[in-house]
Symmetry: D2
Subunit: 420 residues, 4 copies
């Protein structure tokens, strides 16, 4: 006695790797398959179709196979509605809740597919605009009111109707572009260890310029190394000229940036810094103290305390910034959001609005932003540590490129490409 | 016309590097010196004494030299009282505030030296038990009531009497032990890349055992890699048997640990994990969700949800733990302190009570703990990334040792050394 | 006007990734395809077949596409004989020579497929046993005498018949095993950063034990860090007990190993080493000097100079070792092959005989050995630097696993697993 | 009963760290000291003097202390002549041979100090121009003929008079410059992780320019990553314009450089390279094959095969280059020195002639060159891997600076600084 179910795969399922992944999943998880139909797209633009029966010895084997196939983009041949189960309590998911990927996703409600808003990884899907009877059946008073969106655990309220099980869900991982030319072509390349650095910086500049030309929004996630390594002035120019629309950073980043403005940087001072690494840390504390006294970053800019740098450009050009607190912070600044959940929510909003995210030398903040991104958002990750770049690219963005380089040379070169 | 001042250096000032550092500081910062008296300890145990006049062209040159000499352990030959200035507002330091090192420090109040409590780097020093007139003079109603302690910026209240300037302060960097044998001898070794791993683990075990034998307290700062790499059971045993008194970690660490307890780990599952890295992330969310439902970690242990692992051992053996939140967290757990300032305060208390700190595979939490440590606290830092180990050891602890190794092999070997 | 050619793909072409790769190659290199026939294996064990016409605007576009398809495992639908062109001079390849992959390969000579012996990456293929007329036609006096084998550039003699162009060649990249269980199942896992270290060591031990049980040969490529980190005694035991059949290393490895035997290691001495890194380097030179005086490693063992360690076990148990010289070497030892070409040839022989290669903490020697390996040889690569592991695994072995760990804890744990 | 001996320290012994090191050595190695005289230089330029009796329980304890003090720059108070012992055989050192540091060194022969030529680490010192009787006494026929020089093990001939023991040797570690300003001031800085990258590149450019202005010689040690990352054209310009006088590299570096010249680099091609890392490896083999056919690099340039790049500039501008072979090499080129000992000798000559060495992205070649350098040669080490930079700087050069950056951005920026 075996159990089985039928799944379908559609699209450019061969060159996107979906077919390979489907076969692999079945075999690795101990199942068998029987290809019931396979129509291969005979030309480059034609789509393919595959209907495959998945067979396993028992439900316990079959279920995880179907789950993985799902997450990869396969759909059940005979879809049923998604099961909706009320959350038993605030911040608690019902048993068997469906945990999202970062790919565009639909859920089936009352026979129709509804797109899930604000797709983000590892969330629950909550459906609104439906009525659920005690027997689990779902009614739809007004089709137009039905919506589905992702919710993180701390956003779930008792009674929220959460999608459970794997039925009635379809996931659409982004496909490989048909054409690898154009400025975004390079974006499929993963970590580019052996590529000429300057050419790659030129490509990234082109991607940013194109995003802006199309009215898109560029979010820059930046770590304090941007300032230490001398990337501050370049990034400030990019903010001023509108190539960077928003900054997502931490308390330290902002303090270092404003300290540069408040206490200057002569070469002599740099030399001292090199020789006495602890030196000038007092400036760091002073900077925070003065900004607190002024009443925050905007006030400090307005009273003329801060006269240049990234935070200055953000304030004077009205660019959005989020400073998320961490347990390493001195101070912190009044602008720093010290509560992690509140900070995540602010980051989530930045991430959702971004069309291209430039991650510069910060693992902590880049992971936090990356967690909130859909797989369709373009991402550029720059770090001198290859392990950081690899970790960030592994999160499954379809259009992500990594560059292992020195942010202190990267930022000025990028600014030159875009501004000169 | 030149300006000058006289400083004194006392103790094992040659082999501790203090003399070298003093000479270097004067020369690098553009001064001259004139050795007025130098008595060298003629034997290993005899102390040395040096009185040196520091000469510079102007006050602007002299001042930073004196400041650096101070921070290194030199004292003014003719000490005056510390200057006390009221903080102008909450969280704001007065101009010229003295920023602490992590070395034992005294401040001179009304002619007598007062030890600074809870010494920690980059803090202000606040003196209590004195009365300050408007002319800045300080009165001492009752000598016994005079205390001094460090305060971070967010702990400062308007009106707090903060030490400003460099006068009336003396810093005592720890000296090199006279004898490098014994279990702690190795503790001076810095990063040990070329040392036999097993011997070094044995030395670390001995240091922990000795700390416990002397009634000391061991704090373990641990990252999620401890769990991923298989170090969980070993660390749980060390907690149970009392070799680790407290855990300082993040939300993810606790969740991974409890997920292991709640969902088990067969070899088959591990293989799957390896092949499908996103797999099982649902378990991660479930774990949090269930612990929230139970009402927290202690409640989850009590209701039998969690039956083994590090958090389990902490609860059942009444070991202190702090889970500090970060913007990467899922959930978070009810026990996680999401506010960064509040979390820092909890970490600060752990750090102050610790006699030996074992930092395992976490840069974020280790830096946070390290920031709160005196230079006299023994620290062992273990990470597979040499840059992390170097960064943590650079913070100036006098008795710190780093080991670049795999925490997944380190923890079981350490547990074997201590427990078998 | 377009040009086209027809290629065939056969086998488990979907889950091996061959189909995906074929589609990708055509699209990335600017071609189109037309699937003329596609029979998908409808069950896990059934093979698939695809005949695809590749279309391009001109020969200059078509040719690289066909070349890449070839290298990936596609074959021309209407194969012709391989073109054989005489090498114009010693160490010089004819124009258009075919450069090998590391996958099993056949060339077609006089209508029949001949396997290429000693397959190795980036080589030329030389055919013997044929007669070539001036018009390029090839005659086969005796079928049984026809052989083909790889030759590196410095092995090519003027007049050697070298395969040129892409015709008449078929490449068979290894397929994914149908079954991922068993000791070698894990071998598909790539770099295992998040896997429990001890479990992975257990799997590697099992793979070595199984290789030996099947009469296979284990080659260990080892760097000096094996000795520094304390892995020497463990590796020596593995050599003695026959779990390691051959050692491929450098001059420094052997010297460090023998220095340990000649000058002993007390704990006191290790501590000194840690404090004075240059200390004992004289022992290093002495060791070499004494072995030179004795007449080589074997002689030094025989005269009782060397009484333990890896080299000792190699000599007394008659295990093969190759010491390849490098420009960093002190000495060198009389046994060290200082000529790079000669050393490569010795390494090549070791590599060809190996069934499992264990690479421990050496990039230079591992790359040299890896260059000579067929894609079907099992490889385990262990290093504390993730970049090294990634670079070694990228070379395209089908059964390669990497582990980022401390070789100083890895070797003793591996020895315990195998010997206790 | 104790044993003792008297050593003297002279110069800027405090700020050079010599006093500290001397005290530390005595204490760590189990001795006692008695300071018999100590005159401290009372001003910045005045030298200090210390006479110290070192006391130990037995000769076995005393000897290593004296040895270490020696190596650090202490001299015996009552110097005797160096002991000279004939080498027992070719490539074999006599018992107790003195192993050199990389600091300037003198040996005492017949009552007078003779400078050791070609100082290099871990060598023996061979004295010529003296006659040795069987009783070990040494006669000097003509004072003017007495010379001493370092010899590596493979340069020692039977009968060479080798310095043994520690007597009659004085080592002069370079002192800290009295003044840290000027272009070379930064050269004391070690690894500069937190320094603005562009400022540091400017400093390095200035150091190169000053070296050239003073008639010095710049040696560039370069790895293949210089070419991959796009640094080739910049380095070629530096060679052409005379800022780099010599290149020390490997076979792969030269091949990659010439391949760029022979097969061009369009953007399209780069993109392909990124997508298909093995692609174009055939070009690599072709390049070697063609250069072999031409008869070598110079011939290939002359016949117009190579028309640009670093090797081209070396040939046409008559810059010295050494290509040292390794076991990873393809080919190799006819110019590559495949024998490691021969290659070391060629590298040794380059190193001795260099006044500033720029090490770019190669650990193997940088270590080989670094092994041959005196501690007084300025060294700049650039690599993206911090562990590589640290390892290279640890070799004890007095004027070494490291920069952790991307060589693909470093080289163009350096060329711009020097040439524009």
């Amino acid at each position: 006695m075996t159990v089985s179910d039928v799944v379908e795969l559609e699209g450019h399922i061969i060159d996107s790797g979906l077919m390979e992944r489907a076969f692999t999943v079945v075999m690795d998880l101990g199942g068998e398959f029987d290809i019931e139909e396979f129509e291969v797209g005979t030309t480059k633009t034609a789509e393919s179709y595959c209907r495959m029966r998945v067979i396993a010895d028992d439900e316990a084997t079959l279920h995880p196979i179907l789950h993985e196939l799902h997450q990869s983009g396969a759909t059940l041949a005979s879809p049923t509605d998604a099961t909706l189960t009320p959350a038993p309590a605030d911040n608690v998911v019902p048993d068997g809740f469906y945990s999202t990927t970062n790919h565009p996703t639909d859920v089936r409600v009352d026979g129709e597919w509804v797109g899930v808003d604000n797709i983000e990884m590892d969330c629950a899907v909550v459906v609104e605009g439906v009525e659920r009877s005690d027997d689990g059946s779902v009614g739809v008073p007004d089709r137009a009111d039905v919506t589905a969106e992702t919710k993180v655990l701390n956003g779930i309220d008792a009674g929220d109707l959460v999608v459970t099980g794997d039925a009635g869900i379809r996931v659409k991982p982004p496909e490989r572009p048909r054409d690898s030319s154009g400025p975004f072509g390079f974006m499929q390349g993963g970590v580019s260890a052996e590529r000429p650095s300057r050419s790659l910086i030129r490509d990234i500049a082109e991607a940013i310029a194109e995003t802006k030309a199309q009215g898109g929004r560029v979010l820059c996630v930046a770590g304090p190394a941007v300032i230490h390594s001398g990337g501050g002035p370049g990034l400030a120019r990019l903010v001023r000229e509108g190539y960077v629309d928003a900054i997502s950073a931490g308390n330290g980043f902002a303090v270092h940036d404003m300290e540069r403005s408040m206490y200057g940087t002569s070469l002599g001072m740099d030399v001292e810094t090199m020789e006495h690494p602890r030196k000038g840390h007092k400036h760091h504390i002073y900077t925070i103290s003065e900004v607190i006294r002024a009443g925050g970053i905007e006030a400090a800019v307005e009273e003329g305390l801060i006269t240049e740098g990234i935070m200055y450009e953000c304030v004077t050009n009205d660019r959005d910034f989020v400073l998320a607190g961490s347990i390493r912070d001195d101070g912190p600044l009044p602008d720093t959001i010290t509560d992690a959940v509140e900070a995540q929510n602010a980051i989530r909003e930045q991430a959702r609005e971004a069309d291209l995210v430039l991650m510069l030398s910060t693992l902590l903040h880049s992971v936090a932003v990356g967690n909130c991104l859909s797989s369709t958002t373009r991402t550029v990750c720059v770090d001198i540590n290859p392990a950081t770049v690899t970790q960030l690219l592994d999160r499954g963005s379809a259009q992500a490129v990594g560059m292992v380089t020195d942010v202190g040379t990267f930022v000025p070169m990028l600014a030159e490409e875009l501004l000169e």
